[in-house]
Amino acid sequence: MTLDIAYFAWVRERMGMAAETVALPAGIATVGDLVRWLAARDARGARAFAEPGRIRAAVDGAMVGADAPIGDAGEVALFPPVTGG
């Protein structure tokens, strides 16, 4: 299964890319699983996701928690807490 992942703010900078399409290994069921997998994948992921508690996520445009299932989502967005206005 492939998944589009979009990164924002310092997550994007630390990942060195705005988006990627990954082939998800078996066993990645939730957003939390995905973040842990990315953190373990390479040095960039380790830096971007060193503090999972500071990461927020959206699945197909809807804000979700770490325990949200990825299911057959088209896009998962990973980013820090927002700071607009």
Binding site: F8, A9, A58, P81, V82, T83, G85
Partner: protein, 146 residues
């Protein structure tokens, strides 16, 4: 009427006000936020999500229209690179009644700080570049609205 925009171009407050006010609303409250040049800030950059940022503004405006009797609301947020003095955000809320316009305007700007997909990065004259951290005060203000 709800009008929402996320754009890289400068916000023309007078023009937006004129467009909003075409309805001749009884009471209009507004909020304008500008880039401050504090601490030698030279650039403010705002990252956003191509679809979710605008959708978030629309959702906020719709929620405000459920909570108060509004004739019109306008939310314009700039993204990309900005300089000190530039307008970052414009919120307008109109109603027949001033209390509703004022409350809706305050709600929209408070929630905008915590609920909409936007991220600020500051660059300073001394070369420092840093993403703005989430502010506890903003969370507390937004939480007042339940």
């Amino acid at each position: 009427m709800i009008r929402v925009a996320v754009r890289a171009e400068a916000i023309d407050v007078a023009a937006e006000l004129a467009a909003h006010d075409a309805g001749g609303h009884g009471a209009s409250a507004s909020f304008v936020g500008r880039v401050r040049g504090d601490g030698g800030l030279t650039e403010l950059f705002l990252d956003h999500h191509p679809a979710m940022t605008a959708a978030g503004l629309t959702a906020l405006a719709e929620e405000a229209a459920r909570r108060w009797t509004l004739d019109a609301s306008t939310l314009i947020h700039r993204v990309g690179a900005m300089a000190p003095g530039d307008t970052i955000v414009l919120v307008l809320a109109s109603s027949r009644h001033r209390a509703e316009a004022l409350a809706a305007c305050e709600y929209l700007i408070d929630r905008l700080k915590t609920d909409v997909m936007l991220w600020k990065r500051e660059s300073f004259a001394d070369g420092r570049v840093a993403w703005v951290e989430e502010r506890g005060a903003d969370r507390a203000r937004a939480a007042r609205w339940g």
